[in-house]
Amino acid sequence: MLKRISLFLVAVLICGIIGTSAIADESKDVAWMQFQIEAAEAVSQLTELYMEQHPDVKITAEVNGTNLTEVLKAMFTAGDVPEIFMTEGYNNMKTYADYLTDLSDQPFVDQLVDASLNCITLDGKIVGLPVTFQSEGILYNKAIFEQYGLTEPTTLTELKAVCEALKAQGVTPFVNEFKDDWLLGQFLACGGYATIPDTASFTDGLYAGTATFAGNEQMLRSFEILDLMLQYGQDDPLSYGWNEACTAFALGEGAMMFEGDWVWDTLKSIDPELQLGMIGTIVSDDVSENRMAVDVNGVWHVGKGSANADIAIDILNWLATDEGAKEILLNTYKVIPVFKGWEYDGSSNPLCIAPYAAMQDGNVFSWPWPTWPDGFRGEAGKLYQEYILGNLTAADVLAQMDTIWADLTK
């Protein structure tokens, strides 16, 4: 009896489900998939605005910060191509080469600032729309600096002096977020790789097998800077991830931190009154080597072979021209604009003010790590962790980096 009832219920449920999912839909479906969960609200506003203006389009936006890569790969392999999807540009998007629509002829391309073009170009063709610029360097607490009469260091000697002065006052100079292997990967990018003269050729050399990390002067120097940060850093840096480091920094437990402007939201939620600034990653007394790294983070692509690719292209152009979209991008998404002529005042993120100014002067590095093979940033970061643990020497690390690079590019 019980069995009959439960079977009947199951049958009813199944009928119900089939019924609800079989409702015919006349609208054109656009699938929009990206990471950057801090922008979830902005994405939802953008899609709503577009759908208001184009009632026959239905955009399903998904902001996935945990496993977007897996989902995208599974979808592509099954032939289910989303109309809009996001990658990190450079080499990261190369993996998806077969599904990138050529956008070189689109109107929005002319409106992009030159600094953003490198990231979205593949084999001479523009294949995406950059989302925002983000910057990376040494964040510092202006209030603490003022309290002890310190000024922004611009050279290594000045940095060491600042560290000594802070230490004398009982303040920990650096908060080091070294539990995150990707952060160390970005550190070695900014504090070592980016300072290699003619970085682009060096990268080509690595891919061609003619250049090596082993013995590289700038890469070896990055370890000296790392040692400096460890020496003047908090205890037990390997247990500090994003949350622990940001909490400590926001509470004033450290005066400086190597990170990017994207931590502002976390810092702000702990102390909205924080006075912060950013300087470049300091590696020497040559000021030109101590720059911030500013580059595009996040690129929107149009899936080649997707059902409504033409609508997707229209959406990307719309993002560049529509007033409502511009407002959402600047104020809710809080982008540093990639389009010429868009005004940026830094009000949404004080950490961006210095990098933006430096970018206008052309005094920044572009990001090296997106040009590396997939997975290299994390692997190299882990090697640096082994160095911190004392298991590997600097020479060992660089030698292993060469091996891993070769493995990943086989």
Partner: protein, 278 residues
């Protein structure tokens, strides 16, 4: 022979230790729940403190933005359908494989075991291809159908083992009385394994409730999402929105906790004893 006082002391000690152990076990869950009522700053700075005032903003925001009632309905529906279908089919399968213990049954059991070993990520891409080719992606029903073979092997394995505690004599006498094979199973054997079924029901409900990878892959549109996808939308490898994340997690774990408390009575011993005598 222990004196009464000694026995009494031992008893009290066991009770107290039990209480302590229980409290220690749920301490992390307690941490999650209390932080649902705190603003973001307090979560990061005073993680373990009891909230000094009940801050409801996170919970309200999350309830609204994750469309709680819809996704709760989806999750409950998935749980019910998957559990009923998987339990019935697996019990049947496990029972027969155990009773007819020939070579092919042994091979089947071994094959089913294999599916419980492989990490799902390795077969994620192929599974999606299969599902998509069958036209079942972004479809709650398709999702449920895919879950059944993923969970069933475990239940088959469990039933395969526990069927041995039901004496064959019972089945044989039922057959002699003229019962067909279905009646023998559903009216005699299956009810006697209700304790096992209770465990499986609880475990499967839990698995469906906490499943993330498959829903993130198969369920696209907002109205099809389940609780876990909503919870994970606040967490990422970089930036984590703790206040909303913890609030959504709390909303997600409450129904299943109530369910488990409700299922408690099926684990009380003595439910099954005596049934065998008849």
């Amino acid at each position: 022979m222990r004196s009464k006082t000694q026995k009494w002391i031992r008893h009290i000690l066991l009770e107290l230790l039990g209480l302590l152990a229980a409290l220690l076990m749920i301490m992390p869950v307690y941490v999650v729940v209390i932080n649902a009522f705190k603003p973001f700053k307090k979560i990061l700075t005073n993680t373990f403190a009891f909230p000094d005032s009940f801050y409801l903003d996170s919970l309200l925001y999350v309830w609204d933005s994750m469309n709680y009632l819809t996704i709760l309905k989806n999750t409950i529906l998935s749980a019910i359908v998957v559990v009923v279908v998987a339990v019935v089919l697996s019990a049947m399968c496990g029972y027969k494989l155990s009773r007819v213990d020939d070579r092919k049954s042994k091979v089947f059991i071994v094959c089913l075991l294999a599916s419980m070993i492989i990490p799902f990520q390795s077969i994620m891409l192929p599974v999606y291809q299969v599902v998509h080719r069958l036209g079942q992606s972004d479809n709650l029903l398709g999702y449920m159908i895919t879950l059944v073979p993923l969970y069933a092997p475990f239940a088959v394995f469990v039933y395969h083992g526990f069927v041995k505690t039901v004496p064959r004599a019972l089945e044989e006498s039922a057959i002699i009385d003229g019962c067909g094979p279905f009646r023998v199973f559903f009216q005699i054997v299956f009810p006697l394994m209700s304790s096992t079924t209770a465990s499986i029901v609880v475990l499967f409900t839990l698995w469906v409730w906490n499943d993330y990878t498959l829903p993130s892959l198969l369920l696209r549109s907002a109205q099809n999402k389940t609780l876990t996808t909503a919870v994970y939308s606040f967490f990422s490898s970089y930036y984590t929105r703790w206040d909303y994340g913890i609030a959504s997690l709390t909303l997600a774990i409450m129904p299943i906790t109530l369910f488990f408390i409700f299922m408690q009575k099926y684990f009380v011993s003595g439910m099954v004893a005596g049934a065998i005598k008849g």
